[in-house]
């Protein structure tokens, strides 16, 4: 399985995604640093941050931006690794190899999941590290720096959120596979951003762990169903 995942990365030129993830991490870090210490989000008249309710701390903004970015990044990667493979005949080629179809699909999904989980966790840690050191350099911050990098639970939370967000990002794959369209997968990833930041009645879904876990469970269920159906699948 390790070799199959490596082959998926190799044939999809993972170097491009590493470069893009690095650029995205740098831009996110720069933007959040500027929000915190250069006051780019401040109202010019009052001088206080012009933020939506619930986004008044730097960790809320960091979580929102990094998670949103990776919903889309995961969607784009899935569209390229899996949905396009069905469209351009690569999957038909893969299914003529003497390898279990379940293993092929699992390796494709695992290649995307592992990369995005690691990239999201690293991005979050990079952004928080920049903000942490920014807090040491600058005397004041526009947003309260409400995170504790010294605590182990901070890292636990980063890894847990990264895993949940990456798993939810896979919902876009099933939208793409159902409609046989890579564009649909990418659009679905944008819809996921709105869905996870939306509200149900007067209850906000942003940061609602139960809701996120339900979405993640749905994603896992669909993935298992998809893999289980692979052996009988007819393609081309």
């Amino acid at each position: 399985m390790k070799k199959m995942i490596w082959l998926e990365w190799k044939k999809n030129r993972i170097g491009r995604y590493v470069r893009n993830a690095l650029i995205m991490a740098a831009l996110l870090a720069l933007f959040l640093y500027a929000m915190a210490f250069f006051g780019i989000a401040n109202d010019p008249e009052t001088g206080i941050p012009d933020a939506a309710p619930g986004m008044l701390s730097i960790s809320a903004s960091t979580e929102f931006l990094t998670n949103s970015a990776y919903f889309v990044f995961t969607g784009v990667m899935l569209a390229s690794f899996v949905v396009n493979a069905y469209k351009n005949g690569i999957m038909a080629l893969m299914f003529t190899y003497p390898v279990s179809r379940k293993k092929i699909l699992c390796s494709q999904m695992a290649a995307v999941w592992i990369f995005n989980f690691a990239a999201l966790a690293i991005t979050k840690i990079l952004v928080y590290t920049c903000l942490f050191w920014g807090g040491k350099i600058h005397t004041a911050s526009a947003f309260p720096l409400d995170f504790h990098m010294e605590s182990i639970s901070f890292y636990g939370s980063v890894f847990f959120t990264s895993a949940v967000v990456t798993t939810i990002g896979f919902l876009s794959l099933f939208a793409g596979l159902f409609t046989k369209s890579s564009k649909a997968a990418v659009i679905a990833s944008f819809l996921l951003v709105f869905l996870t930041q939306g509200s149900l009645g007067d209850k906000s879904l942003a940061g609602n762990t139960t809701f996120l876990l339900i979405l993640a469970a749905l994603s896992v269920t669909l993935a298992v169903g998809n893999v289980a159906a692979a052996e009988k699948q007819e393609i081309l």
Binding site: A92, Y97, P98, L236
Partner: protein, 305 residues
């Protein structure tokens, strides 16, 4: 006789549509089997069933003497497959695509990639990204990939599509070589009948999802009608001489102006002499047999109309 590939009463329905019906193929070890049929006859469907990409609605497939559903992965390891237009990772080079194929097939013989590239004369272009390849080059690379692991059974769907005459010659020679040197069995579908005629040992003729006939080229030449074909300066005069002077009734003037004499009793030498004595200018004259194309049209012509 033991066959390398055998199908028994194979059928495939999609919805209510009957795509193929009761197809029983028999492909012998080491032969080139040409699978012929007009567009939409079901050739690719059968190849998809044989390669496991589709599941049959009815019937059985036996590969290497074993029922396909029981030992499919092992059978795939012994097969090389090119279906429709070969798919590649277009940003990778031809060589990288072959190396990936080798990894998935679990075939690590040193120098096999170079060997496969050489077989299809692609060594020079091997390091260029596939996105820059022409259709013909992709077809050749597809065949290189299919033969890379020295398969026992090579399945090619319209392998001559997009190839120029030199490419067609190259593939024809390659198929012969694979059969002679490595004992590879080839199942190829094609609608380029003259090409199939030159390489195939057996042909299966498919029309409207049904196998019309399965016949070896040897049997076909015995079954085919033999005739004398004459190209004359004046076909009307020639026809008059044949009918009135030589009393030959079984002849036909073809669309291209040639005359075909089907009377088996008459000899070429005597016909030349008699036409010449009646002052009919002969441009060419010789004994011929029906081509595969003519046989094919005779067999499926009515269905097509």
């Amino acid at each position: 006789m033991a066959y390398l590939l055998e199908t028994c009463g194979l059928g495939k329905d999609i919805g209510r549509q009957n795509i193929i019906e009761d197809v029983s193929l028999h492909v012998k070890k080491g032969e080139i089997y040409g699978f012929l049929g007009p567009n939409g006859a079901g050739k690719t469907t059968i190849l998809k069933l044989v390669t496991g990409l589709w599941n049959p609605t009815r019937g059985e497939i036996f590969l290497f003497g074993k029922q396909m559903k029981n030992d499919f992965r092992h059978a795939l390891k012994r097969m090389g497959i090119v279906l429709e237009y070969p798919a590649f990772y277009k940003f990778l080079s031809g060589r990288e695509n072959l190396e990936l194929h080798r990894e998935y097939m679990g075939y690590y013989r040193h120098g096999s990639v170079e060997e496969a590239l050489k077989l299809v004369c692609m060594e020079e272009m091997a390091d260029r990204p596939v996105k820059n390849y022409s259709l013909g080059m992709r077809e050749r690379l597809g065949i290189a990939r299919a033969v890379l692991c020295k398969p026992e059974l090579l399945i090619l769907d319209e392998p001559l599509n997009g190839l120029d005459p030199s490419g067609i010659h190259l593939i024809r020679e390659l198929l012969r070589r694979l059969c002679q040197e490595y004992g590879t069995t080839v199942l190829m579908s094609s609608h380029i009948l003259p090409e199939v005629e030159t390489v195939a040992d057996t042909v299966g003729i498919l029309c409207k999802g049904k196998l019309k006939e399965e016949v070896s080229m040897k049997e076909l030449s015995q079954k085919s009608v033999s005739f004398i074909e004459a190209l004359t300066a004046d076909r009307r005069k020639a026809a008059f001489v044949l009918e009135e002077k030589l009393n030959i009734q079984k002849f036909r003037i073809m669309e291209d102006g040639s005359i075909r004499v089907y009377d088996q009793g008459i000899q070429v030498e005597s016909l030349v002499k008699q036409l010449a004595s009646e002052d009919v200018g002969i441009l060419s004259l010789g004994r011929k047999t029906e081509t595969l194309e003519e046989y094919f049209m005779k067999l499926v012509g009515e269905d097509l109309q």
